[in-house]
């Protein structure tokens, strides 16, 4: 047993962190709001080039042949930068037998969405999509981009996650049945959890920075235990969630018998951690945290978006309850 990341794993995460630091600045995030579907295609290709979508694709299909352990480290970095776009859908599509769509997703040439079946359906990033994975109770379907709606809603919850109401999802090709749907839910849950660990970490870091520099009553507000303890509790939640996500990813990679249990637990705990940390970030920033002037709101909104994906924490609670 050894849950310390290897040097290779740390280097992989550091590479993603550098790419995100260069490309996903607060200004770039704001600029992305104006792009179709809020997806920066150049960034998408850069993510493809660095291998972010190829991690679990087998080497004989030109992928990196790695596992979810590496993927969760990478997705934590994507979360830390609040990278806009359907990263989970594109990543999972690259690993499925989808022919040219998979190859294009792996290269960052295709943007693939991931939604639960529904009528009407709410579809994130619709205008940017090249394809859409639809996960229903009985299986998984690969559909083309939905067309013909009224366009994105004026007031999406997360300004970086545009949403369209699609009265009827277009028919698509079946990709797999119940087993695949369950696997995608578990893996999407774990990847969403990894993003949430990153979001939560970024929120605590941003708030810690502020608490160390902002002064009131003649001293840095971070020296007041009332704020210090809020931040400590948030960081504790981050550390616990990060441990759970990494251990679950390793368990899935190793095919351990408790892998599902660990993955559901990680989903539940990471959601809670991101909720706590992003709210704490807003509280520590006071009134400014409640505005669009700072990015604190983006962290909270993204985590709320992630919790509404194909693998919600409530689903994970029900799934875990069945295993207890």
């Amino acid at each position: 047993m050894d849950l310390e990341p290897t040097d290779e794993q740390l280097a992989l995460a550091a590479g993603l962190a550098r790419l995100c630091a260069d490309r996903v600045t607060p200004e770039a995030r704001r600029a992305a709001m104006a792009l179709p579907g809020a997806v920066d295609r150049d960034l998408w290709r850069a993510l493809g080039d660095i291998g972010a979508f190829a991690l679990i694709v087998p080497a004989d299909r030109d992928g990196l042949g790695l596992g979810l352990a590496e993927a969760t480290l990478v997705f934590e970095e994507l979360g830390r930068a609040a990278v806009p776009g359907p990263v989970v859908g594109t990543f999972l599509a690259a690993g499925l037998p989808l022919g040219s769509v998979a190859g294009a997703a792996m290269a960052g040439e295709a943007v693939v969405g991931l939604v639960p079946e529904g009528r009407p359906a709410l579809v994130e990033h619709r205008a940017a999509l090249d394809a859409l994975l639809v996960v229903g109770p009985s299986g998984v379907v690969l559909a083309p981009r939905p067309e013909g709606g009224d366009g994105p809603l004026d007031r999406p919850l997360d300004p970086l996650t545009p949403v369209d109401v699609v009265p009827e999802l277009p028919p698509g090709e079946p990709v797999g049945g119940l087993d695949l749907a369950a696997r995608l839910r578990r893996d999407a849950g774990l990847l969403s959890a990894a993003i949430q660990v990153g979001l939560a970490g970024a929120a605590v870091a941003m708030a810690t920075e502020h608490a160390g520099s902002r002064t009131q009553f003649g001293r840095a507000i971070g020296s007041f235990q009332a704020l210090k303890h809020l931040l400590a509790d948030a960081q504790v939640a981050v550390e616990v969630a990060r441990s759970a996500v990494q251990a679950a990813a390793v368990a899935v990679d190793e095919g351990g018998k408790d892998a599902d249990r660990a993955a559901h637990a990680a989903r539940i705990v990471a959601s809670g951690a991101a909720d706590r940390a992003t709210r704490t970030c807003i509280q520590v920033h006071g009134g400014m945290g409640f505005t669009w002037d700072l990015d604190a709101h983006l962290f909270l909104k993204r985590t709320l978006v992630l919790d509404a994906g194909i693998a919600s924490p409530d689903d994970a609670i029900d799934a875990l309850a069945a295993l207890l």
Binding site: P5, E209, Q225, H229, V240, G256, L324
Partner: protein, 418 residues
């Protein structure tokens, strides 16, 4: 990263499991509640069995008679012991996990030869004389005075939270030898034989009805100068050395015990009729219990990460503080659901209506959980540690600290800087 065990770890686990199975079958019944002499005999008897089988001092260096196990092997040892239902460390806690390792690291060759073998054999029980009524979280403000008189110190003061004092042979004692020095620099770590004259031990009854802890009154107790471990006035550093031994394993038995409690609560919920179904069908019971299960699972992952870190870097950093803060909250939530589930069965300890197929005391455990945010560093102190050492937030100006404590790098985390 891997969860799989090495062949050596698998072999260690298999051998230990076989030994536990064979040995536990021949164990006497656990001692009656509050019979401390019987508890001492039971716990030290177990220590003797561990010793004879080569499992005593699992984490101690081999040169001092320990097994020299890796942090991973220590984790396996604790995991297998808990799963097999082996006795807890109990009365041997201070001797095997605090005083012994401290003497091994800081004692003289004579002190090691004299005190370590009896600890490993289970011949001696130790207690801890650190906290005082006026020195809790601010331990370094302790007032118990040790005045030199020839080749003895004459020690006077009051200690509190002294576990197993009524059955201990020795006490690891912190006393002030230089009242004029800054508070962290005038303290000495010494060994006090508990059969010394002028020691009075008064057991205290805690919330759960037990009297594991005592107050201890020292009235001019004479302690030989040769009993000092480390140098005079260097006791604060010696005491901190003990904490450096923490390899992420301190709460393994606790956590696995909580997993057992949770499984039992799920079992009780499934068997408790409610409406047309059972309490488990009620989402207001099932869901919070499941979230507690998820948190325990996550804290088990954190434990493995702390142990991995300790294996790589020598200690678990502030991982212990992180664990404690997460874990006590989980146990509080578990207790809330447990009491709702028990209903009127909460009116007495020890499961009066026989709900628990495993005979677990959920009332006692719920109350016990209140101590988890107090003992061994309150939650408030732990939050200061996490805020200041992990996040690098500025210190509270009203709190003084040793001048030589290093300021952490901002943003440093458990992995050392991401």
């Amino acid at each position: 990263m891997r969860l799989k065990e090495t062949p050596a770890e698998q072999a260690f686990r298999a051998e230990l499991r076989a030994w536990l199975d064979a040995t536990l079958a021949g164990l006497p019944d656990p001692p009656p509640f509050e019979d401390w002499a019987a508890k001492r005999a039971y716990d030290t008897g177990w220590q003797r069995r561990l010793h004879d089988a080569g499992y005593a001092g699992i984490s101690w260096p081999k040169e001092y008679g320990g097994r020299g196990a890796t942090p991973s092997e220590e984790l396996i040892f604790l995991e297998e012991s808990e799963r097999a239902g082996a006795p807890y460390v109990g009365c041997n806690f201070v001797s095997t996990l605090h005083a012994g390792p401290t003497i091994a690291a800081e004692g003289t060759p004579e002190q090691r030869a004299r005190y370590l073998p009896p600890i490993l054999r289970g011949d001696n029980v130790w207690c801890q004389g650190f906290s005082e009524p006026e020195a809790g979280s601010d331990l370094a403000s302790l007032r118990t005075r040790a005045v030199r008189d020839g080749d003895h110190y004459v020690v006077t003061g009051q200690k509190i939270w002294t576990s197993h004092a009524q059955v201990a042979d020795y006490c690891e004692l912190l006393a002030r030898t230089d009242p004029d020095a800054p508070k962290h620099r005038g303290i000495t770590w010494m060994i006090m034989p508990m059969d010394s004259p002028r020691i009075e031990v008064r057991p205290m009854r805690t919330l759960t009805g037990e009297s594991e802890f005592s107050e201890m009154f020292l009235d001019e107790v004479r302690i030989p100068v040769g009993n000092v471990v480390g140098a005079e006035n260097d006791g604060w550093r010696v005491a901190m050395v003990t904490f450096g031994f923490e390899r992420g394993t301190a709460f393994v038995s606790e956590l696995l015990g909580s997993m057992r409690l949770l499984a039992d609560l799920v079992d009780i919920a499934r068997k408790t009729p409610l409406g047309a179904g059972t309490a488990w069908d009620d989402a207001s019971i099932r869901r919070p219990l499941t979230v507690v299960g998820a948190e325990l699972e996550a804290e088990w992952a954190l434990t493995k990460r702390n142990v991995s870190r300790a294996a790589r870097h020598g200690n678990a950093g502030v991982g212990g503080s992180v664990f404690k803060l997460a874990y006590h909250e989980t146990r509080e939530r578990m207790g809330e659901v447990a009491l709702r589930l028990l209903g009127r069965a909460r009116l007495a300890f020890d499961d009066p209506t026989g709900l628990s197929a495993r005979h677990l005391d959920h009332v006692g455990q719920t109350l016990y959980a209140l101590s988890l945010s107090i003992a061994a560093g309150t939650a408030q102190i732990q939050r200061n540690i996490v805020g200041e050492r992990l996040l690098g937030l500025p210190k509270d100006p009203y709190r003084s600290a040793p001048a030589d404590r290093k300021k952490p790098a901002a943003g440093a985390d458990l992995y050392g800087g991401r």
